[in-house]
Each structure stands twice: as C-alpha cells, then as structure tokens.
Amino acid sequence: MIPFILRRLTTLVPMLLAVTLLVFILMSLAPGDFLTPVKAQRDINPALIAELQKSFGLDRPWYQQYALWLGNVLHLDFGYSWTYKVPVAQLIAQRAPATILLSITSLLLAWTLAIPLAVLAAARPGGWIDRLTSAAAYFALAIPEFFLALLAVWMAARTGWFPIGGLTSLDYDFLSPAAQFLDIAHHLILPTLVLGLGGVAGTLRVLRANVLDVLQAEYITAARAKGLSEKVVLFRHVLRNALNPLLSTIGYAFAGLLSGSLLVENVMNYPGLGRLVYEAFIREDQFVVLGSVVVACSLLIVGNLLSDLALAWSDPRVRYGR
C-alpha cells in the first residue's frame, strides 16, 4: 500500500512542472503586467517603477523568472503576493477555510440527498419517486451554476430571506458565539444549494443506474432468497456495491467543487479562495496565481488518491501494491 501511495505522489512532480510552466508562459504572453496600473498613475516616479520592476524580477525574461521561482519552491517558498506583500502560502491559508467549508457542505448536501433518493428511485423504477427525481435532476443539470447563482442572489434580494452574499453579517463581531454560528449557517445556505445542486443531480443519476445494475446481480437474488428484509438488501448489499464507481469519482468531484466555487464565489460575493484567485488573475499577481494552480493540481491528485484508497476500503476485491 505504502509504495503505491508514494508512486502516486511522485506523479505530482512532472504534472506540477508542466502545469506551472504553462501558466508562466501564458501569463508572460498576456498583455501588461502587475505594474501596468501603477504606470498609468500620474504622480508615480519612473525611478520607483524601475525599482519595483527590479525587485519583482519583472525586468528579466520569463524563463529566468520561472527558474528563480522553481528554485524557491524547492525550499518550500512559494513566493509572496505582490499585492498584499504576504507569503502566498499564508494568503491561501487565510482564504482557504471559507472555501473548504463551502466545499464540504455542498459535498455533504450532494451525498446525503442523492444516496437515499437514488436507492429509493431505483427500488421502484418508473415509480413516482423515480419520475420526480429524474425530472428534478435533469432540470438541475440543465441550469449552469453561474445562472443558478445569479438566480439565488436575485431571490435573496427580492425576498430578504437570505443575505445577499458574504459569509457573515456586518454585526458579526458583536454577536454571541451561538448567534455567530447561526449567522454563518444562514449565509451558507444559498451558496451550498447553488454549488451542491448540480452534484446532487449528477450523483443521483449515476447512482440510480448503478443500483439498477446491481439489483440484477445473482447475489442479490440469493440475499432475497435467504429471506433478508428488502431494507437490508437495498442498503447493505446493493448500495455498498453500487457506491464503488462513485467513490472513484469523488476525487474529481472535490477538485471540481473548487473550480466551481471560483464562479459561485465571485457571483455571490463569498470570501474564499475563488475570489482571491480571480482577483490575482486580473491583477497578474503572478505567484498567487501559481500558488493556487499548485494547490488545485495537488488537490486533484491527492483527491484521486484518497478515492482510490476509499475504494480499496469499501471493496475487499481491490488491492494495490503488486
């Protein structure tokens, strides 16, 4: 098992190299650089611009900048943000909790809703639960996330039931801890729904098909013949087998949630990584962009690794390492 994990982790290296190189080339091709807005201000001395250019390394060709950055990364130094003058790792750590919180609540929403619904739908194919959930799932899949986000903001503004964006209210600092918790929960509802609904629908469709598949298997007939109750058959025998393919996609799902949150966070004014990364891209704050790309890639690989491990845990037939 250990060698397997190590082998998988070493694939991170060439992938990160390739992706960061690509990002670096693309950013150097993009017009302007971090100092462009500074250059357009009338009372900034050219000598200061030259000095800043030198201290940022922007006066060198891109491959030299890249080599320097790589050298620093080897010492686990991901550079610092030119905008905020804070190490990139610190900046990402500052914003990540909000995004991770949102990712977890949406994943939870997706799984807690999708799993029972899919099993119930597949238990009686063509029944009313099945038809209703299918219709709802198609509907949810057909709406793009950003549109759903806009819709949610509009709804919040019209009804006043939910806050329009953000993670906490203006008077958050003055609330009691219990009220603070409720405040965050209140703010999380809409973004969770927006980010989670697509996940519910997708998971539901895949899982329903798997459950239907497993239901045809001979061991299910055997279980039923043994006299097990339908509930035990469905949730212990069918579900456990049907979950396998889903477990192997959870890694992608997690990385996908992060990229989806970039959009949702920006539309819904949510204070997470997505907004930080978007602003860094717009300002061409190079190292923040690179740092976030590294985080996203690592998450994808580590997420996949975790889902493979989960698969091994849930399915005794799967063994790695040989």
Binding site: R42, Q94, L193, N269
Partner: protein, 589 residues
C-alpha cells in the same frame, strides 16, 4: 425536500438577533492631551455605527507599501500626519503639529508637535516618531513612493530633532508642495516598528495578515483604530480612545463608536448596497443618480451633487517622431505631419459636440472640459483657457487652411491626396468611455474623417502608450486635482505621462519648452499667487496647443443617510471629509 422549514426557522432566529439594539459600548475614558484640538463644528452626541462599502480590498495597512487609493484611504483613518490638507477649503491645517514656522529662506520648516498626544496603546507620541518615519522612508532597503515625493531632484530633506516636541525639516531648495506632501505622510510608531526596521522586514509589517490576526498592533494616532479585518468581508474600525480632538464641551471625538466597511467585489455591488439601505454613504456616478434617487425616501438618504469631478477625459494623437528597433516609424510619416499640425488638432476639437456628449452619455450630469484641470480643483483651476465650441464650419475652415480638402468621395484628403483616417484606441472596461468614442466617431464622419475604433484591454493600451508607441490616437482619462506638482509627469516633456510624446530628451516644440520652464518655476516658490500665475499659463498653453483634446467632465455625486449630522462633503477626495465630527441622534439605523 426538507429544506424550506429549516431556513424559515433560522430566519426567525436571525431576525430576533438582528433586531437587538447595537451593543452598549463603554468607551475607555482617558484625560484629553494638553495639546487637544477643539473642533469648531456643531456639538453632537457620542455613539452610533457608520457603515460604508468599498469596491476594493486594501492590499496593505503599511503606508510604505501602499500604492492604491483604497489602501491609502484605510491607512489615513488610523495614521495621522503632521498637517492635514483640508479637502473642502484646499488649505493646509494643523494635524499632529499644532503649528509650524517657515524660516525666511523658505526652506526651513519648524513643526511644533501637540504636547500630550498618545498612541492608541498609551505610549507618548514624540519627535522620535517623526524622525523614525523619515528614516524609514529614506532607507534604500525599503523602496517606497513617499521617498520620491519627499525629495527634490533626488536630494532628501534634512530632518532634525530640536527637542521632544519640535522637529525641523529643511528642503535642499525651495519646494512648493512641501506642506501638502508632508500632510500625506502618516507618521509611524517608533516603539512598535523599530525591530522590523532593524532586521529589514519593515515592508512586511502591518500587512493584511497581521491586520487580521493582531489588529491591535496597528497603532493609531488618528480618529480610529483597527478593531478587526476579515478579508473580502469587512473592516471594523473603532474610536481611538487617545484621539487628540474634542468638541467644545470637552467630549472626545470621534462621536461614532464604530466605522464598518463592507468589502464588496465591484462598484456595482457597492452602489447596490447603498441603494438598498445597507450602507450610510456612497459615491455615485452620474448614470446611477436617477434610479437611486427613487429610493431616497424609503431608506432615508439624500443625494448631493458635489459638482464637477476632478476626472478629465481626453483624446490625443501620437506625435512621437521616433521609430522602433527595426527602423519602422511609430507613426506613418504623412500622418505624423497631420498630428503635429496644431490646426488639425484644433479642427478636431471644434468638430466634437461636447454638449451632445454631456446630454447623451452623461445624462446631462456633466460639463464640457477645455483644459487640464476641472472646476473641482478650485484652488488651481483656470477658467480662462481657450475653448473650442462645437462648430463644424470652423473645423472645415481650419482644415482647409492646413491644406486638407474634401475629395469627390466626400471624404477628407490631405495635400498629397492621402485619405484622412486614423484608429482611436481606448480601453474596453469603461462603458462611458466606449460610448464617448462612438459619439466621437460620428462627429468626425461629419467632417469626412474616418475613425476606426479599437477597444483594448487596459494593460495592452498602457503598453502601447508607454512602451511600444505603435498607435495613432488614444482616449483615456486622468484624475486631476490637487497641487500642480502632481501633474509634472503629464506636462513636462520629460514626463512619462506626456502621452503624445513621452520621455523627450529635449523639448520638441517651443511651447513644450515653455511649459517645462513654467512647471519648474512654480515648483520653486512658496508664493501662491506666483505659482497660480505660472500654472494658469500652463493650462492656457495646453488649451491653445491642444496636445490633449479635452472632452467632458462628469459631475460627482454622493448619497448620505439623513440621520447623520455635521456632514461636510468635499468637492474631491473622500466622501466625507470630517468623519470624526459626524454624529447621529438616531443610534439604530
């Protein structure tokens, strides 16, 4: 799904908590400093929370790092300076220095600090802090903007401590904007920042991460001190218990307990927050005024017209005679001949229907602009510049005089028969500018001139203007206002933003040489009437020669909730000039 019940129950709970009165604040009471400044404004009542929003995130709380207006604005709330530039009267007023003397040589300024002023942690403020600040600014280890503003021709000012409450600054030569520049320098606490200065990490101090984790380390001399900072959410300032101003009854300012700024992602979100009653003050652009005014009575706010904004908008032609490294001229030679002909530029200027731009693009909320300063800059604006009212006949006459003729194709041609056509570059992000460029194209078509519009990303546009020079005409804006010294990079022929032909070694034309002389002369006298005379002439030459063809200036508006008293709205700069004097009889919004 079981979802709906949950949020409704939650909403009820939250409504309960939201309706609770704002927290009772017991302010720390400290004796007023000996050098207390008594405000002359109406006497108010302490308490209340002032809420506004900012469409940008502060990038730092360290004045040595700050390059953007957003960060600068937040820093100005807690770090005070020796003197203040009163944004309403445009005069210099006492700040942490109660008074100052200017020696007869006009180069030596002695500042007398207010006795008894304390930092927000209770440590005394003294001349050592002033010396430390200048030492930090001038240290080559910490490249910063102030170091360049606080030197003349690369020479630093001499800073001496006379005693604990007296500091003497000497400029190497007479430097006109000295007091205004010193007014902008937030003084740093030596006892807090000296370790970072010693080990060279000063530029990393007071960054956003420190502000989030240890807000109390950002020591204040200003009206407010930082209470908390949540990135991308909000900044909360609270009244500084050691602030050095009080009202006539001896009640310490500021009146408000808290200043909460909502951080939103763009100007639209900020405007929307105000229009729905969430914030107390907001700067409004002319195209938003009409619809926002409809909500004024519902949310109890009023919209004030601040008059013309300090923002200028203009078109210019590339007059750079140089060529790129491959020997290709930046501008096709026959076109360069048009662009450098004053009559051509004046004809274009007469051909622009500025009243139409004000009506069509700014909804009547603006006025034509003829020179580099707008009336917002009361102290320096010259109203007697040459004007170019809309007059196509006059345009045609000027063009004919310069040898242009309408050909059989109804298009304008120059003496050699070249079709008069050029490409106007502007940036796509600014919708008002895009609309103006379109209107300009129509105006030029009436003169037989073909204008192609090219809307670029801002970065690409700046690259063309400042680095590659391969363009024909541009349209941009600059924020004017303030002291003429701020415009040197635009007006001086050596300047970086002398956009029609930047970074000249020697002035290309006699009038540019004259402007260079005037800009240098105005910098080296402290006498306001003399400086005004020089700068008036600069404005006159700019309008006569029209290297920049000025278009229009929009009015600026500000909306403020009616519950606030003692409001003073400056024509330029921040929305409210005297935040420390604001008070409200209604504590709950």
């Amino acid at each position: 799904m079981a979802q709906p019940v949950f949020p409704i129950a939650l909403c009820a709970l939250l409504l309960l908590s939201a309706c609770s009165p704002p927290p009772k604040v017991s302010r720390q009471t400290h004796p007023l400093p000996a050098g207390v400044d008594i405000a002359r404004s109406e006497i108010g009542r302490s308490g209340g929370v002032f809420i506004d929003s900012s469409p940008g995130e502060p990038s730092t709380f360290n004045p040595l790092v700050s390059e953007d207006a957003t960060s600068g604005g937040f820093i100005g709330l807690f770090l005070d300076s020796l003197v203040h530039n009163n944004a309403v009267t445009q005069e210099v007023e006492p700040g942490l220095a109660a008074r100052w003397d200017i020696a007869p040589d006009n180069r030596t300024f002695t500042f007398h600090l207010r006795p008894g002023v304390l930092w927000s942690d209770g440590h005394p403020f003294s001349a050592d802090d002033v010396l430390f600040t200048f030492q930090a600014i001038y240290d080559p280890r910490f490249p910063n903007r102030a170091a360049f503003d606080l030197s003349v021709d690369g020479q630093k000012f001499k800073v001496e401590k006379i005693d604990d409450l007296t500091v003497r600054l000497t400029t190497p030569q007479i430097y006109a904007p000295f007091l205004e520049t010193v007014g902008g320098v937030g003084l740093l606490p030596k006892h807090e920042l000296e370790p970072a200065f010693r080990d060279g990490t000063l530029l990393k101090s007071w960054n956003v991460s420190v502000a989030q984790k240890e807000p109390q380390r950002l020591l204040a001399t200003g009206a407010f001190r930082l209470r908390s900072y949540q990135p991308a959410e909000r900044i909360v300032f609270e009244a500084n218990p050691h602030y050095w101003r009080a009202d006539a009854q001896g009640v310490r300012l500021p009146y408000v307990d808290f200043l909460v700024t909502k951080l939103v992602k763009d100007a639209n979100a900020s405007t929307l927050a105000f229009a729905t009653g969430q914030t107390d003050a907001e700067g409004l652009s002319p195209d938003n005024v009409a619809w926002i005014d409809r909500y004024a009575s519902r949310y109890g706010f009023s919209v004030f017209n601040r008059g013309p904004s300090p923002n200028t908008g203009f078109i210019w032609f590339n007059q750079n005679p140089g060529h790129d490294t491959a020997g290709k001229p930046f501008v096709t030679p026959y076109k360069l001949a048009w662009f450098t002909d004053r009559r051509f530029r004046q004809a274009i200027s007469h051909g622009i229907d500025r009243q139409g731009l004000v009506r069509g693009v700014l909804f009547g909320r603006g006025q034509p602009l003829w020179g580099p300063e707008t009336p917002a800059n009361k102290k320096w604006y010259n109203p007697n510049v040459t004007q170019y009212p809309y007059d196509p006949a006059r345009s045609r006459a000027l063009l004919a005089e310069a040898g242009f003729q309408i050909g059989p194709d109804q298009k304008l041609h120059d003496r050699q028969g070249n079709l008069v056509e050029f490409t106007l570059n502007s940036n796509q992000e600014n919708q008002l500018r895009v609309n103006m460029a379109t209107a300009f194209k129509e105006n030029m078509r009436d003169l037989g001139i073909t204008v192609n519009l090219s809307f670029l990303d801002f970065g690409t546009l700046v690259g063309k203007i400042q680095d590659s020079y391969d363009y024909e005409a541009g349209m941009l804006g600059l924020t004017g206002g303030g002291d003429p010294a701020g415009g040197i990079s635009v007006f001086s022929s050596k300047g970086r933003l002398h956009q029609w032909y930047p970074n000249q070694k020697t002035p290309a034309t006699p009038w540019e040489a004259r402007i260079d002389q005037l800009m240098s002369d105005q910098l080296h006298t402290l006498d306001y009437p003399t400086r005004k005379k020089y700068f008036d002439e600069v404005q006159k030459i700019m309008s006569d020669e029209t290297p920049f063809i000025y278009l229009v200036t929009a009015n600026a508006y500000v909306g403020i909730k009616d519950r606030w008293k003692n409001i003073r709205i400056p024509p330029l700069g921040s929305l409210v000039w005297n935040l420390d004097e604001l008070w409200t009889p209604l504590l709950t919004p």
